[in-house]
Symmetry: C2
Subunit: 348 residues, 2 copies
């Protein structure tokens, strides 16, 4: 790390203390109400007084504080987005889509992540409510959202996305995790596989459980048994996923195909398979960048993360515009993209 200080000198100062309207009033020699009138462009101030107030504003570097207007008006023209992980590429297009919709409605997007921690989710959601966002789009980490009920009753429109709310009734926009996983596993079965492993996200996460249900359903529909050793749910960190995959692949009767429950899992499985001589079929839930350029290309169940974000944000703004009625659940379809890895047949 190098550290070069540019030549231009600036005065040392302390941050975080700002001139107030009171300071402006004192400097201009007028009352607080007069400053407020000038700042908010209200009538009832003589040109000379206005000029004095404006000079004081410039001299002090005073900036209007939106907090005061929020107190008066009730609406803040901002919405909050609570993500699961800012660094998961799945959420990039989703966030961008929510931001585009917010912007089209003249609202600022305030964004934070729970890091898959239910307590942190609650802390963040309540912090956003305390700042009086008009509405929230939430990718929940937790399974119990009763803490949000008073906020929703108090008027904070809330739409859940990617995963539904738990223990409260709220709008939700989801991908068809069950149907997508069932399609993916049926695809592997159609290519001759009988022993198929499922590597998923943590139990308790709605999408992980729905995808597992899709796997079990496809196996049952084909009349295939599921060995307990073929199912592994848990954190998506590479070490856990790698160990679980290797265990299935090195078993006396090894799996010949794997279904990966999300893009984080798929990427690790691709690394594991790259180091092994025997080809193993793979279908992953979620598309990801460069999946088509690997050898073989990775067959995926693609969900449209931008469309999830757009749909959730549109629903949120319809609620803010007064749309009443029961909470809605919107389920978006998934799409199987065959690229090679899911079309490998069982090794003899």
């Amino acid at each position: 790390m190098t550290d070069t200080a540019p030549g231009t000198a600036t005065t040392s100062r302390r941050y975080g203390t700002r001139p107030t309207m009171k300071d402006v009033a004192a400097r201009a020699g007028v009352g607080l109400k007069t400053v407020s009138r000038v700042v908010n462009g209200e009538p009832g101030v003589t040109p000379d007084t206005e000029r004095r107030v404006k000079e004081a504003i410039t001299a002090l570097g005073f900036r209007r504080n939106d907090s005061a207007r929020i107190l008066r008006k009730g609406r803040t023209a901002s919405i909050g987005l609570v993500l699961e992980d800012l660094a998961d590429p799945f959420y990039g297009p989703l966030s961008r889509a929510v931001e585009e919709v917010a912007r089209a409605h003249g609202a600022l997007l305030i964004n934070g992540s729970s890091a898959e921690d239910p307590e942190r989710e609650q802390e963040l959601v309540l912090a956003l409510c305390a700042r009086r966002v008009d509405g929230l789009v939430v990718i929940p980490a937790g399974r119990d959202h009763r803490y949000l009920a008073p906020e929703i009753a108090a008027g904070v429109a809330t739409v859940f996305v990617d995963r539904p709310a738990g223990r409260i009734d709220a709008d939700a926009v989801l991908s068809d995790s069950f149907g997508g996983a069932r399609d993916g596993v049926a695809h592997l079965i159609a290519h001759g596989h009988r022993r198929i492993g499922f590597l998923g996200d943590q139990p308790g996460i709605h999408t992980a459980e729905e995808r597992l249900r899709g796997y079990r359903t496809a196996m049952a529909e084909a009349g295939l048994p599921v060995d307990d050793a073929w199912v592994s749910l848990g954190p998506t960190d590479p070490e856990r996923v790698r160990a679980a995959a290797i265990e299935m692949l090195d078993a006396p009767e090894p799996v010949t195909a794997l279904f990966a429950g999300n893009n984080r899992v798929t990427v690790t499985v691709v690394r594991v398979l790259a180091g092994r001589p025997r080809p193993v079929a793979l279908v992953g839930f979620d598309d990801f960048e460069l999946a088509d350029l690997l050898s073989p290309g990775i067959t995926v169940i693609a969900q449209d993360s931008a469309q999830l974000g757009r749909t959730a944000a549109d629903l949120l703004f319809r609620r803010l515009d007064g749309a009443g009625g029961e909470p809605r659940r919107v389920v978006l379809p998934t799409r199987l993209i065959a690229r090679g890895s899911g079309e490998l047949t069982p090794a003899p």
Copy 2:
């Protein structure tokens, strides 16, 4: 898209109107000051009155509004992060690192993106200032930040990251774009290349210009001429990059190697090269997921995007804690990771 409404009926309501302290005071039959005391845990309220106020709060679903406290206290315990693009994977680890530091300081992170539009950057920055964030971390889209000077003078600590501020003197945390690009191009030259193309981001973007300068310097240091046809700067959308790459590769005297100016460019170049029979060497600025699993693996100049975010946020909080002195410029080193694509020798 299917749409299923769950069975539980809820009452239709309008969002965005909330009970105020005044409503609570009216219902409890007390004055506004008494409600304020109860809400803020201040003394001077009899147990019976406190109970009446709390009942009214529960009945009305009243929630405290932080705007009022912000007005009183000056500090908001929040910082703003202005990104270039929420969907660019380079910024994921950077955002997460800024959020971790903010959280360690008990501050909320408010996040938005400029979509590489200087006007939108300014709009977003000023909206964040109007909401009284204590400080800002900015990945600038524009080249003129004089609009921020009054905010900085008014006490908003500001640290630029990835790219420096333009026309004002401000803290900046950068990667060594010049040195990294020079290293990458020298690496290609060391593998026998003489005709090397440079595909970069738009002119006017600091990192794009620094990387081009690194390219030109490495070529000059090796005594190699640079043909104008070997340099292409512009938007990083795949169509533009693809056309520019093909033009260099199909020229009468084609380039034998390419240097890609950032991860968005590299990914497109990888796609272009995948469809061609003759091997072409490639070094890309920025590491990216799966770069090692492509065939050949992609040689990159890696910058530590999480470290950029952490360093910028640490500097911001030091400023907020009173650290004075001249604006600082911190430059983080880059690292060449050889994986195969950058070690290909010129096709005969």
